[in-house]
């Protein structure tokens, strides 16, 4: 163990420079956040991830945000275990009918002000699962979405760009 730890000290970090915030995401946020006046959330955001029907592909890439290459926490963004601690709900999946109630309860358990980020092609409109007897559709059909991050699944870099747009927008509104 000592060798592994020492090597981490002598090696250059693997962490890569941050990508620029996504332009499309900034534009969407500028529009969506006009809907209601919300207090500034600051430069640090707590994220609660909710799988509302995903194939688990999006979760794998969201997990990757925490690895040494992307190191999400350096931006003040981190995942929390309870909606009660969250500023942001990050929702994946075509929203299944079996998860609708659970998502609503999670949303209601998240204190205001809060943002909802819909991740992946399915979360936008149900994707290839739209039209099934078991699927509601997009996340926006049940809770108001502030930002969509597209992709199937979005790569960690795409996810990072979207989240950085969220941070940038938050600080601009100070």
């Amino acid at each position: 163990m000592r060798r592994t730890l020492l090597q981490s000290l002598t090696q250059r970090p693997l962490t890569e420079p941050a990508p620029a915030p996504d332009e499309a995401a900034l534009a969407e946020l500028a529009k969506s956040l006009k809907r209601t006046a919300r207090a500034k959330l600051g430069r640090s955001l707590s994220i609660r991830q909710v799988d509302a029907g995903s194939c688990n592909g999006c979760e794998l890439e969201i997990h990757a945000l925490n690895n040494a290459f992307y190191d999400l926490e350096r931006f003040g963004l981190h995942f929390v275990a309870s909606p009660r601690h969250a500023d942001v709900l990050m929702v994946t999946g075509p929203l299944t009918k079996n998860m609708r109630e659970a998502l609503l309860r999670t949303y209601n358990a998240t204190p205001d002000p809060k943002w909802v980020v819909a991740v992946g092609a399915c979360a936008a409109d149900g994707g290839i699962f739209a039209g099934s007897y078991a699927v509601v559709g997009g996340v926006n059909d049940v809770v108001p979405v502030d930002l969509h991050i597209p992709g199937c699944p979005p790569s960690p870099t795409q996810l990072l760009k979207g989240l950085l747009a969220l941070l940038e927008h938050g600080s601009k509104r100070a």
Partner: protein, 502 residues
Amino acid sequence: MALLDTIPHDEEIKRHRPWPRARVGEDGWVRAIESLAAGECTLLGLWGDAPYVHLALLDERAGDIAVVSYACNKGKYPSVAARHPPASRLERAIADLFGLEALGAPDARTWLDLGFWGVRHPLGKPQPAAKPAPYAFLPVDGEGLHEIPVGPVHAGIIEPGHFRFTANGEYLVRLEQRLGYVHKGIESLMSGATLDAAAKLTARTSGDSTVAYSYAFARAAEAALEVTVPPRAVYLRALMAELERIANHFGDIGAICNDASFSLMHAQTGILRERTLRAAATCFGHRLMMDTIVPGGVANDIAPDGVASVRALLKELRAAFPRLIELYDNTASLQDRTVTTGIVRAHYARQFGAGGYVGRASGRGFDARRDLAYAPYDALTFEVPVLDAGDVNARVWIRIREVEQSLSLIEQIVDRLPGGAARATIAPKGVISEGLGIAEAFRGDVLVWLRLDGNGNVRRCHMRDASWFQWPLLETAVEGNIVADFPLCNKSFNCSYSGHDL
């Protein structure tokens, strides 16, 4: 003697490939159930196709498979689970989706239908749903017992499902799972879909096993349509499958250690996983390699710099991984959490036909790559590691050994990669044809059964994840463990929710 010959059956179904399927009467159905209950063969799948129910059986030693089909009488069939418990959840799913009733079933509760669809029996004769009765969890009586309900929304970045624990102080007395939350109705979307659209759905059935699902689906379609896949595609598919396997094993090894608060391992295996996904993206244009395997071959040939990136990856992994194995092996505080925790008994692993590391850590060595010997694995050299301890530690070690085997397989594949085309053309047969495909995913064997119409569109497709036969064993493995060790047990199984819920 072939497996099907041991069961009294009517004429075989024409154009079901590569293994036979036959209609059976009550005597054949009961004989099949008896052979499962006696342990002569293993349950590979049980699915509805109104008015039929199909039962797939595996003879592990001979590597032989047979499917028997029973025509339900007024929507009823003799229960398999009555004699062979591993079939229970499959029968409950058939009842929810098709309205077909298993006579004498030990558990008549719903399974995937949680009462929110607005319709009952969506794949059978759909009826408007009445308000469902509250779900009755199994009763647990005793002094000092309390219940801990968890989920469907869990604390981590993981899939949703409900766990109902009964505990006596720190010790777990019972776990009862309730799944179905991510049921997307994939099998109904499949019916009538073109082969391309169905392949896309298959690739999004369980994201961590997208390659394995596409692999099994392609093999089923190719069997039905009698398509020969070019040798280059055969090898490229195996390359993808092994990259997917090691990426998932790296993720799991780290995540299991992380659940014992040993985050150093998580950080280190996270690096190896990321490097693997980046090499996959360089080779095939997608980090998880979604939609890269298609019926007929692979969607795109490997990129010009693909082989070089795989060789560079192998070099890095071989330099870094042994040190992490040593780290795991020499950290006593970590072993204290994993050794003797969450033991799966060998006879359960055998009875349930548990695949992957769950089976192999408990003495069941089945691996579709070796025992069904599909190309190119029939020409490659590898071992299937098997342990007997059945605990979390054994499931970690199986993953470690499998990573080593996969690294060797990847090297053999790139050394021998044949030239030529990477995709054959697919032509519809003009008649109904059926195929069964199996591929070894990182967590066990995935089964895909497919019926295509004359135009090559999907009539019916059923997919069975390895998790169906692993989830119930998690319930047995946690008994007598402390509540705080549940995350370790659960992560060491890493069952699929989406692949199970469909």
